[in-house]
Symmetry: C2
């Protein structure tokens, strides 16, 4: 059973609920929406990502022999239900915001309309995929804004949370505007450019640093970026110059520790004085968007930044309050009213208005049946189980970069926002919520107060 | 190419360094050690985990046809090197601390001794696996201590960072003393007990809550745990009582929102008064070790806690400063001296001494060649490429629980530690570091000062 595709990579309650739905014949159309309840502290916007992987999962959903065997052996499920699972496929519709779209709390970024068991079963893995890539794309976009055009590379695989996290973090960062990744598999898998220099161990394995540089540059005559901070950074830079003087091409150097601003200035002078004006300076080592912003603001002569752990774990905020909630069943809007977790009912759409210069002016969340001025952000991506064409990753990346260009100025800085971006809950949606509260659900709410 | 097993799930520089090593014939034995440089804020100890997955990866390491094809097509590598990669297998030794062992900064938890290219190539994925499971096991152990015997279940899959993170988080939490997980695939994959109740959507899909409870309990007559907070928690508890009075067995109820302490007391009274003294109360909803400790301390009548996002993302600290560093090459100890990132050279062992009552008294890190009093924590787990037998997951879990029992009292509480646990760097190791600094590396260090 491949965890990347198995429908058993889910919460047990999805299967137990499915058996109960099956037993009762509750297969009417359910509408679930995926949204984020609130922004993490210090964040001002989010970037939708992970849709491609979610759609792959949804459109390929099926229980294989091994899964069905385990379900049977578990003793929790009835034979007629297991037979039903064997034939289960997704036959519904999915609407979603295109990957790379900037969005805000309370705005659905994905909506599933399908027979209840199918729609319910998707919850865990679809959240798992969309949540994670959205976490990383939203984090990466902050560095992209902070870098003001300097090149950013994902270096995070070793401290990503497992294999899929490393691979999808490379994708989400690229989608949000990074130039590439160090993760090799991202190249064959997603066509993402891969970058690499050398590790300290390579320098240490040689008797001296100059020999390490020479040996590396011999093998990669056009692309050698030399790691110069193993012992002493300025001395390392001088060795790079000496190597170039001996006729070997040096593409650039990497700094991975110390005061990157001061060291980059010192190294730039050494390289320039040594005739290596075209050699690039690559910086890494515990970087995040704040450090990148500071280095860029102080004019540090760094051409490319490698960002690792803080990016792929979204270290300041490794999760979003992302949920997948039932909004309608059998044609009736539904609403949850648990303390602090109330939801807006019904099938929803988000409309975005723009200023004359193209920047975002404000969003409104309303019922799909209540068209509003502005651009609707959700579009159909799966129709009756059939996946519609979706943009290539490079198109999604261009869309994300265009979205960042259109962010209102206060949302582009890393400083705390004075006021949140305006997201209006439309009167039609408020009225729908009140109508739900007046029906059955409300009766149980009233009785609860007694 | 399966990201879970592919050697291309690595940093590009591993492959470029390998080509340079190959070109120079640098295949002498390299010794790398995996350790954590410092504890995250507020943490007092770490729990080693992920070794099993790392050993699977190491012992099965090979480049398949698809990988070799991509490497050839990338244009970065030479044909003779690609041929060499096709035959590459791990033929070295690995020493490690058993999974579940409590460890501290500067203590190697894994050591690889192998021809340089093999040992280097392991870095990214071995760190990726051991780092993540250690992050989660270390986080989970805090909840295990806080829960004082109450049952803990991992609920985090939906917000784990991808599929492998969800699956391995379930494993790491179980290893550290959790009782199980909601992640179904963890059962067939690791034999971990799985638990599940129902979601709010199940209640909402029914016309009223009582009908939802009845339908669920009909299908799972012995194991129904009813989610009672969708509309009003006390009213939900009364409906559970009514259902039991109608002759249906109710195993327990789940609370997922609001003031869990106050609600659990109110619900317990309702259940007890209704004759459901044996019904369990299960609590979930934004829990972490601090909230569990507070609920346990105030005597909340909660039998089991479901912990999700905070556990699987280790939300307060989603990464450790874990590294894999070259300590010896071709028989010579090696040392990195980059600012703030200096390492101790040579093959090391950790010895732990105990007080008479069995609690940890202090550790010493020294050279393998310098035996010290106490228990050596690292043992051989791969010998000349052949994997040795390793404990079953339940044995590792028993080891972890025994380790937590032996923690000194100040390390068992969640409050900040007054003094760190004593980890001594042995005189022999300090002397070895000074000796390295007097050799070649030191010459480059001295020249750097000029």
């Amino acid at each position: 059973m491949n965890p990347l595709t198995s429908p058993l990579l889910t919460d047990l309650y999805q299967l137990t609920m499915l058996q109960a739905y099956f037993a009762r014949g509750m297969t009417d159309t359910a509408v679930f929406e995926l949204f984020v309840r609130k922004l993490p502290p210090g964040r001002k916007f989010l970037v939708a990502a992970g849709l491609e992987q979610a759609l792959d999962f949804i459109s390929q959903l099926r229980f294989g022999e091994e899964e069905l065997d385990w379900i049977a052996r578990s003793g929790l499920f009835r034979p007629d239900f297991i037979e039903h699972l064997a034939g289960l496929r997704f036959t519904g519709d999915v609407h979603a915001m295109p990957e790379g779209t900037v969005f805000f709390p309370d705005e659905p970024l994905l909506r599933v309309s399908a027979p209840m068991p199918q729609a319910q079963l998707l919850e865990t893995r679809v959240l798992n995929l969309v949540h994670f890539e959205t976490v990383v794309a939203s984090k990466a976009a902050r560095s992209v804004l902070a870098a003001k055009g300097k090149r950013l590379i994902d270096f995070g695989l070793r401290r990503a949370h497992g294999a899929e996290a490393g691979l999808l973090a490379a994708r989400a960062a690229y989608l949000a505007g990074f130039s590439g990744t160090s993760t090799v598999l991202a190249a064959p898998r997603f066509g993402i450019p891969v970058f690499g220099t050398m590790a300290h161990s390579f320098v240490q394995a040689h008797e001296d640093e100059a020999a390490a540089f020479e040996h590396f540059a011999e093998v990669f005559p056009e692309s050698a970026v030399l790691l110069i901070d193993t012992y002493d950074t300025a001395a390392g830079a001088r060795k790079a110059v000496e190597l170039a003087r001996s006729g070997v091409q040096v593409k650039g150097v990497r700094l991975d520790s110390g005061d990157l601003g001061a060291l980059s200035r010192r190294v730039r002078k050494i390289l320039d004085a040594g005739g290596l004006k075209d050699a690039i300076i690559f910086a890494s080592g515990n970087l995040d968007e704040y450090r990148v912003a500071k280095l860029v603001a102080e004019g540090a002569p760094i051409d490319s930044f490698g960002i690792g752990t803080s990016l792929v774990t979204s270290a300041d905020c490794p999760f979003l309050d992302a949920v997948y909630k039932l909004e309608e069943y059998a044609g009736q809007p539904r609403r949850k009213r648990s303390t602090g977790k109330a939801t807006w009912p019904g099938r929803k759409q988000v409309y975005r208005r723009y200023h004359a210069d193209g920047t975002f002016a404000g969003d409104v969340v309303t019922l799909e049946s209540d068209p509003r001025p502005g651009e609707p952000l959700l579009a159909r991506v799966i129709e009756r189980g059939k996946r519609l064409a979706s943009p290539a990753l490079d198109s999604a990346r261009a869309h994300a970069l265009a979205q960042l260009e259109r962010l209102p100025a206060p949302l582009r800085s890393l400083e705390a926002a004075l006021a949140p971006y305006p997201v209006e809950i439309a009167p039609a949606l408020r009225a729908a919520a009140e109508a739900v509260d007046r029906t059955t659900g409300c009766a149980s709410f009233s009785s609860a107060a007694t």
